[in-house]
Every structure is written in structure tokens, then in C-alpha cells.
Assembly symmetry: C2
């Protein structure tokens, strides 16, 4: 039986991955605190993204914009006027629901981008009632998802908590391009918090009100979106793809999508790069697919958009969005700020406003996918094994003195711990039987455990145990560091 999202939330709380925020006060819907294991997993995920897509690339640089910025940014981007969901309220119990979700749940159809008129119509036609008290639902309303606040001591200066990190990249586009002396094509990346006042947060980390994003805006000469010199890095990749008019996903190669011209080369490149990221971090390929947005879902300025979806127990759901936004955002900001955001491309000798590919990665959703993919209830062992990639695992090494309170053994174990802890996240654990310690390590996703025993005092060797196979190997202390570097 598949693990439910509720079971996962219980497991995450019990092991110290994720807690309801301020649980001692009853929590607050849509907000979570990351515990000791969760914070490390999240950091590792963010660091892997940053390392791969920013630090290791000469064509991408990072920024870190503020959460509260000049509110004109959100007028220009369209968020003040249009960043809305459709809200339904029960006429009796006054519980509130998202209109599109209600239609999807009750009628089992894709309702993304549905109008409030259509929601009202479908509610009436199908006699849909309040799921909580079975009373009539009121008329659908628009509800803006941005949190607002006041800046300064007066209370007249409304500002917003950013609903996405992306816009901070567009507003800084010219400064970054000049400072970092970037030439087209190049990208600007950002990791950080974003906030959306969801009508009904649900599914644990999946739909929350405060979350972390990693976004890249990749700027390309508008005539060269089909001119990606690195396209051969992804062309031969086999992916699962659900096309616009298909019912089920099928296997295909990225070059098949390109030959059908359903996306540009640069778009295919970035979509492939992130698909590959999930595979490299250990996701089972059978649980991953790309879904093409249907026409109704597409924002008017987007040329194409694809989600990377994960096969959660509650269905295939988006864990990554990848849009071709053309030059919409830069043009909007140029118009509203009255600043010239085009620039002179030396190669083509043209002044252009670049076209943009936007890979947008939710950190919490990705983490949830990694947790589900790694979770295994091993009946033989009698405990959960969290088979996280060593790259993501919160703790890399468990260090266990086998005889917990024999001074010579603990002293040596502590020496080994001290020699490793600055370079690898280690956990020293001396309490309980070694079996109990292995079980705890399995549940925390620790990939390798090192035990120090009486024999170690004689043969200068320790046992290293593999989480996934439970195989144990005896190895000389002098060779331990090299061994660990090769394993991790």
C-alpha cells in the first residue's frame, strides 16, 4: 500500500524533518518549520542546484533580492491586478475552497485557468455542495494571493511579500548584466522565499503559503532561441512526456520534441537539464515525467510551458515549471519604469530585448518528491529505510563505538569522528544496541555507518556499512578517508 501524504507528514515530524510551524500554539495552516534533518536536506538540495546551475557555469550568475520590494514591481508584472484564484465560500459554514480545485476534485477534469463564470455554471449544473457541511456554495469570487503589509511608520505605503523570486531578477537585469559583464545568452539565478496567501493550503509541503524557490531567467537573443550550442547535452535523453492532446505519457527523446517543433532548442535544453538533475539526485525514472501545458493553461505571453511532474500517492503533480516567457517581463518593466531594458548585442550588432526561458524550481515540492522516492518500509529489517542520494542525505556518516561505554573504544571513535566531522556531516551515536543505531540511521537516510569495536584496537580497522544493501566491509583506518570520498 502506498504511503499517504498524511503518513509522510507524520514521519517527517517524528524524525525531525518538518514540523507544523509553532506547533505548541496549534500551528498555522500552510506554514512549516524544518527540523534538524530537514534543514540539512533542504540546504543540500539548494547547494546542489546552486553548484550545478550557477557556480559551475560561466553563463549563469546569482543574485539575492529582497522579499519586500518597491510595490511598482508587482504592478508592472501584473500580480497586483491578476494574481488571483477563484474562491468559493459555503453559505452556511463559511469554509472557503479554491474554485478550480473543487471542479477538479468533483468532476475529475483539468480546471487550470477556468473562469469564475464557468465555475459557477459547473457548480450549478452538477449540484456541487460544500464538502464539509453539504450546504449551498455562494458565487465564485476572485481573490488576490499576495500578502500585503505596510512599510514605514504611517501605514499608508502598501507593499507586498514577493509571490515569486523571478521579478527581482528582471528588475536587476541591467545592473547584473553590466556588473558581471555578461553577453547573450546568459542567465541570472536566485534562491529564496516566496509567499502566496493560498485559499486552502493542503497536501503537507505541496501547497503552502511560504516556500522556497530556485529560479533561473535565461536571456537569449530573440532570433537565436533555436541556436543552442549545448543542445547535444540533452537531445538523446529519454524522457516520459505527456503531450497536450494525449491522455497518457509515453517515452520519447528530447530530439523527438524538437523535431515536432513544440519547443525551442534553448527551452528543450533547460527542460532537459532539470529533468536530468532529478535523475542524477536519485529519482526513479518511472516516477518522473514532463507534461506539456494545454493551450488554456498558457499565460498570454508564454510561447510554451512544461511541468516536470512526480508520481505522488495523490497523483502526478508539478514539481518544476519551465516556461518560455519571451520578452514579456522585460518589456513590462521597461514600460512601467521608463528605463531602457534592451541592450546592444555585440555579436549581432543589434539592440535587443532578450527572450527568456524560465526554469522555476520549488524547493519544498522537490524535497517532498525526494522523500517519497527514497522512503522504503523494509519489512525484513523491521524499519523504514530512507534511500536518499548521498548528495542529498542530511547526515553522510554515522560513527558508532560498538561497545558504547568502553573508554578505549569511545576514545578512538571520537578521534575518528573528530577527524571526519569538518569535511562530512557526521553523527556520533553511542546509545543502544548497534542494530538499534543502524535502524535510526536508516530512518534518517544516513548512507554509511562506521563502527569501531574491540578489534579496531588490534587491527586498526573499522566496519563500514552500506545503508541500501546492509553490506559491511572491513577497512583500515588509514584508508577510511579515501574510501569515504569515493563513496560519497
Amino acid at each position: 500500500m502506498a504511503l499517504s501524504i498524511e503518513d509522510m507528514a507524520v514521519f517527517c515530524k517524528k524524525k525531525g524533518f518538518v514540523y507544523p510551524s509553532a506547533e505548541i500554539y496549534g500551528g498555522i495552516a500552510g506554514f512549516f518549520d524544518y527540523g534538524p534533518l530537514g534543514v540539512e536536506l533542504k540546504k543540500n538540495l539548494e547547494d546542489q542546484l546552486w553548484k550545478r546551475f550557477v557556480r559551475s557555469r560561466c553563463d549563469v550568475v546569482g543574485i539575492d533580492g529582497s522579499i519586500i520590494t518597491n510595490p511598482k514591481v508587482w504592478q508592472a508584472s501584473g500580480h497586483v491586478d491578476c494574481f488571483e484564484d477563484i474562491m468559493l465560500e459555503c453559505t452556511k459554514c463559511h469554509h472557503r475552497f479554491r474554485g478550480d480545485h473543487m471542479i477538479e476534485d468533483k468532476l475529475n477534469i483539468n480546471a487550470e485557468g477556468i473562469s469564475k463564470e464557468d465555475v459557477d455554471k459547473l457548480i450549478k449544473e452538477n449540484s456541487i455542495k460544500c464538502p464539509d457541511c453539504k450546504s449551498e456554495l455562494g458565487k465564485a469570487n476572485q481573490f488576490n494571493l499576495m500578502f500585503d503589509t505596510n512599510v514605514g511608520p504611517v501605514g499608508e505605503n502598501t507593499a507586498y511579500l514577493r509571490p515569486e523570486t523571478a521579478q527581482l531578477i528582471f528588475t536587476n537585469f541591467r545592473l547584473v548584466q553590466e556588473n558581471a559583464r555578461m553577453k547573450l545568452p546568459f542567465g541570472i539565478a536566485q534562491t529564496g522565499k516566496a509567499f502566496r496567501n493560498e485559499i486552502s493550503p493542503r497536501d503537507f509541503l505541496f501547497r503552502v503559503r511560504e516556500f522556497e524557490q530556485f529560479e533561473i531567467e535565461f536571456f537569449i537573443h530573440p532570433k537565436k532561441t533555436d541556436d543552442c550550442p549545448m543542445i547535444n547535452d540533452v537531445e538523446a535523453m529519454e524522457i516520459n512526456i505527456l503531450l497536450e492532446n494525449d491522455k497518457d505519457h509515453k517515452k520519447a527523446k528530447i530530439k523527438d520534441l524538437l523535431s515536432k517543433k513544440i519547443l525551442s532548442q534553448w527551452h528543450a535544453y533547460w527542460l532537459g537539464q532539470f529533468y536530468k538533475f532529478f535523475l542524477d539526485m536519485g529519482i526513479n525514472p518511472a516516477n518522473l515525467r514532463i507534461r506539456q501545458h494545454v493551450k488554456d493553461e498558457l499565460a498570454h505571453y508564454a510561447r510554451a510551458c512544461f511541468d516536470i511532474e512526480y508520481n505522488f500517492p495523490f497523483g502526478w503533480k508539478e514539481i518544476h515549471g519551465n516556461a518560455d516567457r519571451q520578452s514579456f517581463d522585460l518589456e513590462q518593466h521597461a514600460k512601467h519604469s521608463k528605463k531602457d531594458l534592451s541592450f546592444f548585442d555585440e555579436e549581432s550588432k543589434e539592440k535587443v530585448t532578450p527572450s527568456v526561458i524560465e526554469p522555476s524550481q520549488g524547493i519544498g515540492r522537490a524535497m517532498l518528491a525526494f522523500m517519497f522516492d527514497a522512503y522504503e518500509d523494509d519489512k525484513k529489517r523491521g524499519n523504514i529505510v530512507l534511500k536518499l542520494s548521498p548528495k542529498l542525505a542530511p547526515v553522510k556518516l554515522g560513527i558508532f563505538p560498538l561497545v558504547g561505554n568502553k573508554e578505549e573504544v569511545t576514545k578512538l571513535a571520537m578521534k575518528i569522528y573528530n577527524g571526519l566531522k569538518d569535511d562530512f556531516a557526521c553523527q556520533y551515536d553511542k546509545s543502544g544496541s548497534v542494530g538499534r543505531r543502524y535502524a535510526r540511521a536508516d530512518e534518517a537516510g544516513i548512507p554509511y555507518c562506521i563502527t569501531i569495536d574491540f578489534d579496531t584496537l588490534e587491527d586498526d580497522s573499522v566496519t563500514i556499512r552500506d545503508r541500501d544493501t546492509t553490506k559491511q566491509e572491513r577497512i583500515k583506518i588509514a584508508e577510511l578517508r579515501e574510501k569515504i570520498i569515493n563513496l560519497l
Copy 2:
């Protein structure tokens, strides 16, 4: 002539460290965006803190709490009622000022913790006028510094943006202690954003409305605050200390402070650890001091509090706070949540509410201190040299093909770049004279530059140049990686 804070802001913008947020829209007071160099410097600083004080220690674990949490947290902590500054408003131009700062600026006295009655009295006695238009100032008022917002679709659920990360640690204290099976003494650390609606943000990154903190709450058996087994790590450290009743700081050893009983052993340990952190990251010891809070400054629950101050061009200012908060916070949350936040200490067989030492580190302020300390206008070279510690430097290595467009040289340079970029933050730069490239690297704080020239094709050697001394050394490519590891 000392570099002013305004000059530093200009330099930071020009080089891509820090920009006014959304500058194309005129910015927004008290909010900043970090550019490509700034984001890396900030990440390095946060990573160094996390590595040293969390991952490398078996007695500290991390969490990452949400920015918006249950508002009861801020009622319990006292922030809803008491987190206020005194505001003065000009009766004519309506500009607003912080009362304590006005008194400090005009009368040159320490006004921390001053009452609004005393502000009014001093304003009157000294005929202090509006600094902007010279008109009368109105009566002093209290102003709460928390930003508020509404959670959920109604607008009736006021919540706050956290004004500090600390309280999220206290609210999660029991869950973390249980999950991570911690025993006293132990600490919980957190890095993250905090928000304060400052009446008048000023001094660039120094007094801002959105900022990053790294905080540790270190929990100790209340009877064992003078029983720190690691005290000898800091006792012999020489520090600059400004004591409560002194006018100037003087040199002393931490053990001198302990023998005068002005702080507990554990408090001294953590104060010393952070003082050492700044020195290890390259701060000139002459620019660092510890200041003991005077009695009036102390919160009623604090047993003692010390700041670490840096000698900025605008005076000695706090870059780190270190408070002995006793068991105040846990007791407040136990009272308000009606949850038992004491726990059974196995060693003493007592049920206790732990006493707390709180090292509180502002990331932006620390970064500003590192920038000032590193900045050197080298007249001989004719450029700025940013002598940041290699541990903090945003880019570690510059890779320069000496003859920018000779294909054999650039090919080899690119090969060397590709071999290093995944392990060290590298910048490949082939444009302009090598002198110009060195100057650019100096201004970005790049500690080492590697040049590849025609001779390299013959002798398999490159030149490595030291930013601080400008000394150049010829080294075999085969030995380059080892050399770099030793240097960084």
C-alpha cells in the same frame, strides 16, 4: 581619508555586491538586493558560520523556521506589546526620526533604552529641532517595529513577519530536543530572514528593514552555567573590551572577565567563539572590540549582554549581540502555550527549564564589516584591492588566457577552467590587457589569478598571482590543484 559609508554603497553597487532594491523604480528605503558578487560573499559567510557552529559540532543542530508563524508566538515573546521604538515627527515637514538616535546624535550620549518622557524632556531642555527643516518636533510616540499582514482569505487574521529568528527556536525546542535526542548542554541554530519596520533606515546595510540573521540558542542546566568543559578554548584569548563603567576599551583576556565574574563561563565561551570567528575570517584585531551593556540597556530578563563591535567610519557599532537570557523565553512560551517546556536532565536527575545563551549574528552587518576591513585603495597599483579572506571571497580563482584570442592558449585555459570550476568558484576572463584583468580581479576580491600564456604550451606551467602581494609564481599544471588546495 577613511572611506565613508556612502562611498562603500557606491562601490558595492558598481561591482555588483549590493544594489538598492528595484532601483529602476527608485528603490525602497531599507531594502537591498544582493548582486552576483554579494550573493556569493553572503553565502560564503553563512556557510562558514553553519559549518563551524552547526555541522562540525555534535552539541548544536539546526532548524529553519517560517517567517510567518502563529501570531501567539509574538504575544508570548512580548514583541506585540513591547517591540517598539520611540518616534519623533516634525510638526511641519512631518519627517520622522528615532527618538533615541536623535538624542545620541545631538547630545552625544548613549540613549539606548531611554523612555519617551526622557526624550521629550531632553528635546525641550536642549531646544532640539527637526534636522531637516529646523521646525518644532512633536511629542515622542511609541511605534511597533513588526510588519503585519493577514493570513487567509478574510483579512481578519493578523500575523507578523518575524522580527528575529530566535523565537522559532524556542517554540520548536521540545520537538528538536526529542527528535535529535539532545542532552544538556546543547544548542539549536538558525539562519534566515527577519524584518523590522525601522522608522528611519540608514547607513546602507547597517540599519535595514529586511535582513538575515544567524542565531544560536544554547541551552544549559540552570545550575551549570559556570561549568563549561571547553572554557580553555577561549580563556587565554586576548580581546579588546569596553566595560560598563569605562570610557575606552582596553586589552584583556577572557579569563580576566571570568575572574571578575561579569559573565558566566558558558557566556564567555560563546562570546569568545564569535570574537574568534571574526578574527579567523580576517578582521584586523584593532578594529574589533567587545562592549558590555550598561545596566539601563539590559532587558529585565537578561543577566548580561555583550556586543561585538566593529570600528566603522561612522563609529564603533554592533555587529554581533551575545545575551544571557536565562530561562525567560522558554518560561514565557510554557506559560502562553500551556505546554511543559521543561525537561528531565538525566545527568542531574532533575526536571529543569534550561538557561540560555544567545549569540545573535546579523549577516549584513558582518558583511559590511568584512567589506570595510578588506577595502584598500592601492595608489601604487591604481586600483582598489579587496583583501577578503579566501574563505569569504566570492570568487576564488581568476583564469586568464594571456593572449586573449590565440586559439591554442584559450583552449588550454578553458580546459584548466573546466578542470577547476566544479570545486572552486572560478572566473574565466579573456578580455582586455592582463593588467586590466588583474585590477578587475583585485576589486572583486579574487585571491589568486592563474594566467596561461604561450610558454604554457611549451613548459606545461602557468603563473599564479597573489592578490595581496602581487607576487607571481610559475607552477606546473600537474601541481596546480594541490597548490590551490593549500592556498585556499
